[in-house]
């Protein structure tokens, strides 16, 4: 009988990544060879590409394929997160077109860059080797640095890009140093092997090199997910970056950071769970509290959502600190829901703002509720979902995150979490107060809903409401995803 030659490298696990990379390069070429002017068709190409990639990713559900010598894996965990990234990217592409045209920075490179950063995120979710995770992180980050500063003519956008780049590079240094220390302590970069070696140590928590490596990596990721006290870049970058990119950055990279962090800690360092769980406990409390309290005082709506996005990272860290099935599945569910509701809210902000990002204050929404009732109801749905009111996805997500903490016995963490959630209600309500309870000062006649934004809003509303009313399926998928990791 003939020997069947098994190829050394199985490409299946990274098929969607390859597809998206090729698409991105093709779009770059198309952009170069097509004359200037309307670039909308690139947005549609990217959107359909993302949908196709999502189908490819979805087809991999239920499998478990390792490849590249165990440095990349295709499992449910990766699949769930990849869908989340693709949702974020798809919605971002849909809301970008109009904004870029209005701000006169409608350069075709935007869409390939979004696609490249998604490829990076997908590698982070699939990576089972410190090197793969790091590569994914860099592919994602470099594209994002450019996206943050994409509006070249705008000073604030430039500032955002540079700030993001400098602080991002700085945090990458921490992360890389942490990875090096872990390699030093264990002699491998493969997550599964690290787990075995750490498991054989007599007292791993006394291994200074290992613990320092873990903490440094945590610091690096804390930058990426905007956890306090490493959150300082967030408000400025979120405010300065073009609004669709802010939407994207608040949903995509945050989810990717959690994906990598979850796999790193749950797969490679479960023996140290007592230790990292305590650190995350503190980080979660700090992040929620700092995010919410500072958000209370903001007037610029992008800054409100920027600080609130810090707080949301804190809620997710509550589930992470719990580290059990309920809490971690809660993170997966929450990141997906957050992509819908947050990008949805940013879509409305894009519609209400005028050229040059004027009309960016909360007070500019005065009277919006009765001038444009449908859009205001949609915004209200996003805001209540962000605030965690039933029956929205935001509520179910928080419910599972906090329940994870309670199940683990972290009652106080859950109590601090819900009190934070109550405080956050104030600044979300404030936007509804302006929309519905103040007299309009303008007639909002410049607010024009293009078909692509309409599509984005429909998807986002469905994604914020339906999982709030019938959450079983998505929750079950999330739980399958964390179980089989």
């Amino acid at each position: 009988m003939d020997m069947i030659l098994v190829p050394v490298v199985n490409m299946t696990p990274i098929l969607p990544e390859i597809f998206l990379s090729v698409l991105a390069m093709a779009l770059l070429l198309i952009n170069v060879f097509s004359p200037g002017g309307n670039k909308s068709y690139l947005a549609y190409f990217s959107f359909f590409g993302i949908v196709a990639a999502a189908v490819l990713v979805g087809a991999g559900w239920g499998g478990h394929i390792e490849s590249f010598g165990g440095s990349v894996v295709l499992d449910n965990f990766a699949t769930f997160f990849k869908i989340t990234f693709l949702v974020a990217a798809g919605l971002t592409v849909l809301i970008s077109d109009k904004y870029m045209e209005r701000e006169e920075c409608n350069h075709g490179e935007l869409y390939p860059l979004i696609l490249f950063s998604v490829v990076g995120m997908m590698l982070m979710a699939s990576g089972t080797d410190l090197m793969t995770i790091f590569l994914g992180l860099e592919v994602m980050s470099v594209a994002l640095y450019v996206l943050a500063g994409f509006n070249r003519a705008n000073k604030k956008s430039n500032e955002a890009g540079l700030k993001y780049f400098l602080l991002g590079a700085f945090s990458t240094g921490f992360m890389l140093y942490g990875m090096a220390l872990i390699y030093g302590a264990t002699g491998t970069t493969r997550l599964y092997k690290i787990a075995v070696i750490v498991g054989q140590m007599t007292l791993p928590s006394a291994n200074i090199m290992l613990v320092a490596g873990m903490l440094l990596m945590m610091t690096g990721f804390a930058f990426k997910i905007a956890a306090a006290p490493f959150h300082m870049w967030t408000p400025d970058v979120y405010e300065g970056a073009p609004t669709p990119m802010t939407a994207f950055m608040s949903a995509g990279p945050k989810a990717a950071g959690f994906a990598a962090l979850l796999r790193l800690f749950l797969v490679a360092l479960p023996t140290l769970q007592v230790e990292w769980s305590q650190v995350l406990w503190v980080l979660a409390v700090l992040t929620m509290t700092v995010g919410n309290i500072t958000a209370l005082r903001q007037d610029n709506i992008k800054r409100v959502l920027a600080y609130s996005s810090i707080a949301h990272a804190g809620y997710a860290l509550v589930g992470f600190a719990a580290g059990n099935g309920t809490g971690t599945a809660g993170i997966l569910f929450y990141m997906l829901s957050y992509a819908f509701m947050n990008i949805g809210a940013f879509a409305i902000i894009i519609l209400v703002a005028k050229k040059g990002e004027t009309n960016g204050n909360v007070s500019d929404f005065a009277g919006f509720g009765f001038k444009r009732p449908l859009l205001a109801v949609v915004m209200t749905i996003f805001l209540f979902s962000l605030a965690g009111m039933p029956p929205t996805a935001g509520f179910i997500g928080k419910f599972y995150l906090f329940s994870g903490a309670i199940q683990k016995g972290y009652i106080w963490l859950a109590i601090i979490g819900v009190l934070n959630s109550a405080a956050s209600v104030y600044y979300y309500l404030r936007i509804t107060v302006y929309m519905y309870m103040k007299e309009p000062t303008e007639d909002f006649d410049w607010v024009q809903v293009t078909p692509s934004i309409a599509l984005a809003l429909v998807i986002a509303v469905a994604g914020s409401l339906i999982p709030g009313i019938v959450p079983s399926y998505i929750l079950q998928y999330a739980q399958m995803a964390v179980k089989l990791m």
Partner: protein
């Protein structure tokens, strides 16, 4: 007809869908459609009333899976017993009245207003019928949103402050309750339970320490909603700023969520802790009664006065509920309905004069009875009901509460609380005197029109209920009695060190209060039903009941 409960609850949502397709400028159509929807809901809810079997079991139960993921299983589990039955009926009864009251009061954004009203109705009904703790929590929270918008959009000049305060106060309490709820669930899971079903949790034995923490979390959430002193400060703001229909619903139904929460959840789930905290809660209730009465007395704004009177009335309800005996809890439940009717009516009355004069200051009025005789008569009847004059509904509830509490460990609290009855007479009659009697010297008041047909039509059902419940409360008490007896047994069995009056002592006292005639179907030794039935024989005669309790009304 098995899902008549769901039908009642979600009919208003169907109404919302209908409203969405109506043009926003045709205000008349919007109003009439909303009215029709609420009336149909009320009629459908009467099917619940007629189909209700007088026993202690939950009826009209629907129980289907809803969410199943991870450690949690939530079910769409609904049903009613005698305790929730009347609150459901009260809600569906008050809604058409509230809608009718907005016909001229709300001229702007009518469509949105009506949508809020209908969403609110579904939220309230849902909370009363939920037998799944998670489902209850969802409805409990959902209720907040339409009420928030009603106060915030159609409220007075301080509306935003009041709306946000209302929302955040309630939210803080309910989120802590959510933590307790989840904690309770995990406790139940350790004991082998698999879902959020309330009935399972009743059987769960918790140690006292756990009970105390969980009770505190639940009690805090409900105390904010009741509201109990010192958590009541959101209420006067919300009431004063809310539009009339909002105030009516807030007073008539929303506040009952708090007291209902104690009766349905906090007390039976954590009976031993409830006994531990009874003195504290009774103290707060009594402080609330006296403090709110005193504050009400010095109010210049009629609506604020009524709002404070709400705090006092609900203090009585709490006192009755924490007596843990059949009389006290029956009285508390009855007083919830009474308060819904009489305070709802008071807010409508305030709304009527506000619509005419756009002021609510007592000093702006005086001598209105000459100009508005019908209005004066109605106002007087409602005032009597609110004060608890025998013959009106308010008397029956207050009397039972005081009787029950006096017979319980809360005797001294009751004695002090009784003075609150006198105080309520003082401030209510005083405001009535200042507004209705005296010289009609303000020229703006001299052209006031009396109530029109629509306004009278709004008040008539309430007046009928005031007298019906005052003279013949038996059907109300009978329907709730088995459920309350079961609750009392539940609380009593679980309590070890509570000083509960033996049932025999209560039964011995009751026949002395006047045995009813011509009511053969009434079970023997039926303290709840036996007492008020005496009213049918001697109309509005307090005499048989004057003996056991202090009766301040005799003094008037």
């Amino acid at each position: 007809m098995s899902n008549v409960l769901s039908l009642t609850t979600f009919l208003p949502i169907l109404g919302v869908l209908l409203l969405l397709f109506l043009p926003k400028d045709s205000k008349g159509v919007l109003r009439n459609v909303t009215l029709a929807v609420t009336v149909v809901t009320f009629l459908v809810s009467l099917l619940i009333l007629t189909g209700f079997q007088t026993n202690a079991e939950f009826q009209f139960v629907e129980n289907v899976p809803w969410i199943a993921a991870g450690p949690f299983i939530m079910r769409y589990n609904i049903g009613i017993d005698g305790i929730s039955l009347w609150l459901v009926i009260l809600t569906t009864f008050i809604m058409p009245i509230a809608v009718l009251s907005t016909f001229t009061a709300v001229e702007e954004k009518v469509k949105e207003y009506m949508i809020c009203l209908l969403l609110l109705e579904t939220g309230m009904l849902g909370a009363f019928i939920s037998l799944d703790l998670f489902l209850f929590y969802i409805f409990w929270e959902v209720m907040l949103i339409p009420m928030y918008f009603m106060i915030g959009i159609w409220g007075g000049k301080n509306k935003i402050y009041a709306a946000v305060k209302f929302f955040i106060y309630t939210m803080v309490g309910s989120l802590l309750m959510l933590v307790a709820l989840v904690f309770l669930y995990f406790k139940g899971m350790q004991a082998g339970m698999q879902d959020f079903s309330l009935l399972n949790f009743f059987a769960l034995k918790l140690d006292l320490g756990t009970q105390i923490w969980l009770f505190l979390a639940f009690a805090f959430a409900f105390a904010i909603k009741v509201p109990m002193f010192p958590l009541h400060t959101w209420l006067p703001d919300a009431h004063t700023e809310a539009p009339t229909a909002g105030s009516v619903i807030l007073a008539a139904v929303l506040l009952k969520m708090g007291t209902y929460g104690y009766v349905r959840f906090a007390i039976p789930l954590f009976p031993e802790a409830a006994h531990q905290f009874a003195p504290l809660i009774a103290t707060l209730a009594v402080i609330g009664i006296l403090y709110a009465a005193l504050v009400a007395m010095v109010q210049e704004d009629v609506k604020k006065l009524v709002a404070y009177s709400s705090v006092a009335h609900l203090g009585f309800v709490m006192l009755g509920v924490f007596a843990f005996n059949v009389e006290g809890i029956s009285g508390g439940m009855l007083q919830m309905i009474n308060h819904g009717i009489s305070t709802g009516a008071l807010f409508l009355i305030v709304g009527f004069i506000y619509e005419r004069r756009h002021t609510r200051l007592i000093t702006d009025f005086g001598g209105l009875s000459k100009q508005m005789p019908i209005f004066a008569t109605i106002f007087m009847i409602v005032t009597f009901s609110s004060v608890g004059l025998p013959g009106t509904n308010g008397f029956v509830g207050e009397f039972l509460i005081l009787l029950g509490a006096f017979e319980s460990q809360l005797r001294w609290w009751t004695i002090i609380a009784t003075s609150g009855v006198i105080l309520s007479a003082v401030y209510m009659l005083w405001v009535f005197q200042r507004v209705m009697f005296g010289e009609l010297d303000n020229p703006k008041n001299q052209k006031l029109l009396d109530l029109n047909a629509r306004e009278i039509a709004i008040m008539v059902p309430l007046l009928v209920m005031i007298f019906f419940m005052g003279l013949y409360p038996k059907p109300f008490i009978d329907k709730m009695d088995p459920a309350i007896k079961k609750l009392v047994a539940q609380v009593r069995v679980a309590s070890v060190n509570a000083q509960v009056i033996p049932a025999a002592a209560v039964q011995m006292q009751m026949p002395a209060a006047g045995q009813p005639t011509g009511m053969p179907q009434m079970p023997e030794g039926h303290p709840g039903g036996a007492m008020p039935a005496g009213h049918t024989a001697v109309e509005a005669a307090p005499a048989p009941h004057a003996a056991p309790a202090v009766n301040p009304h005799g003094a008037k």
